[in-house]
Symmetry: D2
Subunit: 350 residues, 4 copies
Amino acid sequence: MSERLDNDQRAQLQALYADMAPEGLTPLWEVLSALVPKTPESPATVHRWRYSSARDYLLRAGDLISAEQAERRVLILENPGLQGLSSITPSLYAGLQMILPGEVAPCHRHSQCALRFVMEGSGAYTAVDGEKAVMERYDLVLTPGGQWHDHGNPTSQPMIWLDGLDIPTVRHFDAGFAEKLSESVHPETVPPGDTLARYGHNMRPMRGGTADRRPSHQPLFHYRFADWRPALETLAANAEIDPHLGHALEFLNPADGGPVMPTIAAHVRLLPSGFETRERRSSDGTIFVVVEGQGTALIGETSIALEHHDVLVVPSWRPLRLRADTKLVLFGFSDRASQEKLNLYKEELA
Amino acid sequence: MSERLDNDQRAQLQALYADMAPEGLTPLWEVLSALVPKTPESPATVHRWRYSSARDYLLRAGDLISAEQAERRVLILENPGLQGLSSITPSLYAGLQMILPGEVAPCHRHSQCALRFVMEGSGAYTAVDGEKAVMERYDLVLTPGGQWHDHGNPTSQPMIWLDGLDIPTVRHFDAGFAEKLSESVHPETVPPGDTLARYGHNMRPMRGGTADRRPSHQPLFHYRFADWRPALETLAANAEIDPHLGHALEFLNPADGGPVMPTIAAHVRLLPSGFETRERRSSDGTIFVVVEGQGTALIGETSIALEHHDVLVVPSWRPLRLRADTKLVLFGFSDRASQEKLNLYKEELA
Amino acid sequence: MSERLDNDQRAQLQALYADMAPEGLTPLWEVLSALVPKTPESPATVHRWRYSSARDYLLRAGDLISAEQAERRVLILENPGLQGLSSITPSLYAGLQMILPGEVAPCHRHSQCALRFVMEGSGAYTAVDGEKAVMERYDLVLTPGGQWHDHGNPTSQPMIWLDGLDIPTVRHFDAGFAEKLSESVHPETVPPGDTLARYGHNMRPMRGGTADRRPSHQPLFHYRFADWRPALETLAANAEIDPHLGHALEFLNPADGGPVMPTIAAHVRLLPSGFETRERRSSDGTIFVVVEGQGTALIGETSIALEHHDVLVVPSWRPLRLRADTKLVLFGFSDRASQEKLNLYKEELA
Amino acid sequence: MSERLDNDQRAQLQALYADMAPEGLTPLWEVLSALVPKTPESPATVHRWRYSSARDYLLRAGDLISAEQAERRVLILENPGLQGLSSITPSLYAGLQMILPGEVAPCHRHSQCALRFVMEGSGAYTAVDGEKAVMERYDLVLTPGGQWHDHGNPTSQPMIWLDGLDIPTVRHFDAGFAEKLSESVHPETVPPGDTLARYGHNMRPMRGGTADRRPSHQPLFHYRFADWRPALETLAANAEIDPHLGHALEFLNPADGGPVMPTIAAHVRLLPSGFETRERRSSDGTIFVVVEGQGTALIGETSIALEHHDVLVVPSWRPLRLRADTKLVLFGFSDRASQEKLNLYKEELA
């Protein structure tokens, strides 16, 4: 409200509020500035999860509950500002998932879109509609909304990856559907690598009267470290560095040249040793994973050390500088895909 | 979790949860089914606001606080299932706004998109970027995100309209920006009706080197009852009625042929006297306003009488039948625009 | 070729050309500069058709052949630079069609898209898929590719309109299909005005499980003078005039906010008395019709007087200035719709 | 015309035609059925160029004229039905280009889009905006409209490739612009392989305030045999064969998931030995190159043997069956990209 009210007016208003509350009527003017803030005021906080510590808890969970019992054995990275909401930002969920040798995480599908970024292990798989993506360290694997998926670990080592999902967004829109397959493991439909062969090289199958096996709007689900890491190195060797981002490559959906999934965008960055980005803020709260090296995140007055495999969340509109103490490689994802579609995305470059 | 745990396992898990909670780690398996429900389980409830009652409270508020004091004198239609959230569905906000003779609601702009649907009065205005839309009963007026807007009532009668905004969605994405103009009223930039003349007839201004005055992605902001009501009548006279919707027309953004705003879709419907729709449910919780006539909403076992000017909210995935006790004309809006962009929208027709 | 050849080399090349010609092989270097010109070198010429004269021939044709005999009684406006090609520009066709009282032009459909711009008469119709558009002077009526259409004149006066089609473009791509209906006149499917009521006001029918009667990508086919002329006047009253175009409004397809048809864009302009545009050239050869007033087209050294109802063609990349000797209102159409989709459109503003 | 005319009527019509011809007016009814044919009647014919023969002529040309003298040393594959038009179909141009050891084809750019499909040689380059694509056999290299390009052969062997351009289409729209660089060879802007590294793996550079070096709508220009051939083999191993196409992969523009260029679509196919496709016809006249094996094209009553490296053109709407006498691998390109944008594309599957 733009002006102060006298006591009498205030009392009469309170009486009005009390009278109408049972009818589902409340006064906008008491909350307007909170509902329509001048700049984003995220309830989420900046937070870093030490991978070493989280990993210990995950192994302890592995002793107590099986992947099949848990359906998904995941420790949620819950933002301290969003307690009870299972969210890392207001719109996104993240967790660390572990699957032990011989385990299977049973097949299900749901409206929620998920990405998996492999932290350690080699040779476990995510099967999407019955096609296995054999996962190697720092691979990005998608399970887009509505596609059947199960995970399995036929190796002799645990496999740990980061899950990133749009669970809070699907909840926000009351639009989530899920079902379990009657069997734990989806029957194999095609050998591993088939989709990557067909959609991974700027090509797509061409058919006469029939549709391709893969959904046309979301065919690809595997982006390999073996592909992206050399590409990032080439970019770093040839291109002028971006002062606000470092050398950065965004992952794309080949169906339309847009973000990997309708609600989530993902990218990787390389900062040469000693490089510090200029300050930047954007409306998409972002989750970072340290893939290589050590660095420091400078967010306003706060300075946060980043070690190997740490996970950092920077909520919307926090001014961020990243400093590479050694060569620093990061994976990041955010809801920028949603925000651009809804005409909400903004950024500010210092 | 798919299986029951024994007491010892349960105790050890609780110990694990307690240990890791301070580090922002929580177990997914305890909440998975709630996070990924089989079908939408909206916290919102079905609710109908009696217009006559809400109007009384609004007039009482008019005696206690001015439009300028309140910035916007609005009673929020807060869903009983979403107390404290100022939301009518998890993603949308609705309110009833009144502006009294001689009042001005001062000029501001914000990321949030708003629609106004006029309930009573004639001749007050919404000015968008300095161009007045003179509002008549049952007109639809938009103030798209980022566009300056103020309201004024130069007439001798109160003006009441329904506001529909995407406030919860902008909050969900932490992406809201707002500012007030230094003056209460935006200077007039062009006479009333200019935009409607230029964009209202399937045309747009064509210029050489310069952009049009209006934003190209969101130029139009006035959809008149004088246009839509006869169009709906013609549709009803000529077309076979849709068994699930009745005769329905959706309002469009002429820039792209899509919904009126990036986050909100709006439509009108006509049900002939005695007509009852077949059951339908959709993932977009919808707000309805009774424009003409009387009817009944049948939602599962619940039956809700609809009188003139009542507002009804039907959350996501509730099975709805609408019965027209007289010829029934409804205005409706929902977040279907967002859901389609994010690949979330679903509907089921009985 | 970048250098001159000596006689011997030339002779040997000629022998090579002769030897390989029967095998369908010819030397690029002899024609490269013609195939890839520095700027567009249209074979089309600037030409103006006097309406009064063309009209006389059309009436004479009306005495000699019936609309039904002719299938379409049309005088093609053939560009003097494109003799034998039935084209007004290399990509477009234009003609003047007349239908006499009581006549019918029988129902057919074809891949080619057509627009009709009414020159004189009132009350004849174009029926599209069995729905009549009752045509008034200066109305724009479309018969999009693939839609059945017939014309009839139940009035007591001749009706004359300009046809604009993409015949040369469909021929260029070898992609034309056509068929005649077994009956002369398509059975009436819906009363006149139905489509305009439903799609003419920034709305579209909304249905549950079924499609609308009209094709979703091309629903609208009638743009009325009664709508566009006042809109143009309002634009002229309120907007700063565009120095290269005058006051101009483009007609839009409500399905996507783009040009009226996939291959053809159309617009109207108003130039106040005494106004002269600055020089402009564009890669879309354009056909103009004088709707009101008198003016002069200045194309390089050439000056062409424009009288009421005259038709003028200005081929690609000719520098054009338009001078209004009285208030001048023009209708125009071109292949800009095609060129923009194929990434070919360019313009240059002096 | 639907009915015969008597002699007198005919004579009067002829007089009318003669009178109005000087004014650029001709009768539609005399040519309507030719202008609007029932099905495509391409002036182009089916034709096969024997590579061995064309290659001999090309080498002979190599003795007579240098690449620099010729600007481009190319034998046009001119369709016998389109003599004098330098076209292989009405909308496309094709030629065989040779560049000898040490030669350079000087740098220019033009509105026309070009693809290059390497027939023989290894190690010559096409430089696009100063970045070399080092060309290997059966690589596909693009020089999209408006991008600078030069070719050079630093190896000791001739290099021969097929050129495919949209020259007739740009001519059709009178929309061609071209210029030569002041130097023969564009200065190197970045090492070879940079663009492929950055855009070749479903990624794109992400920058803050500045644009990427490559044009966003058309960044990629190199599709390697080393990538597409194994992909095609994987498809053939795993997928059910398409009865009308064989195993087919279309090349994509990563910017939008559409065809490689705005006007041209390209693909590769594999037919197992002994496989014969079912009959299919489509409105896009298509050029095929035999990459591996031998086969037969069956077009209506005509049977055409296909040897290694032969080039075959099949005009619009000719019914085609392809028979693989050995394992047969083909490259193909057509104007389907244009036709789909203009809503013209059709196909019919037997």
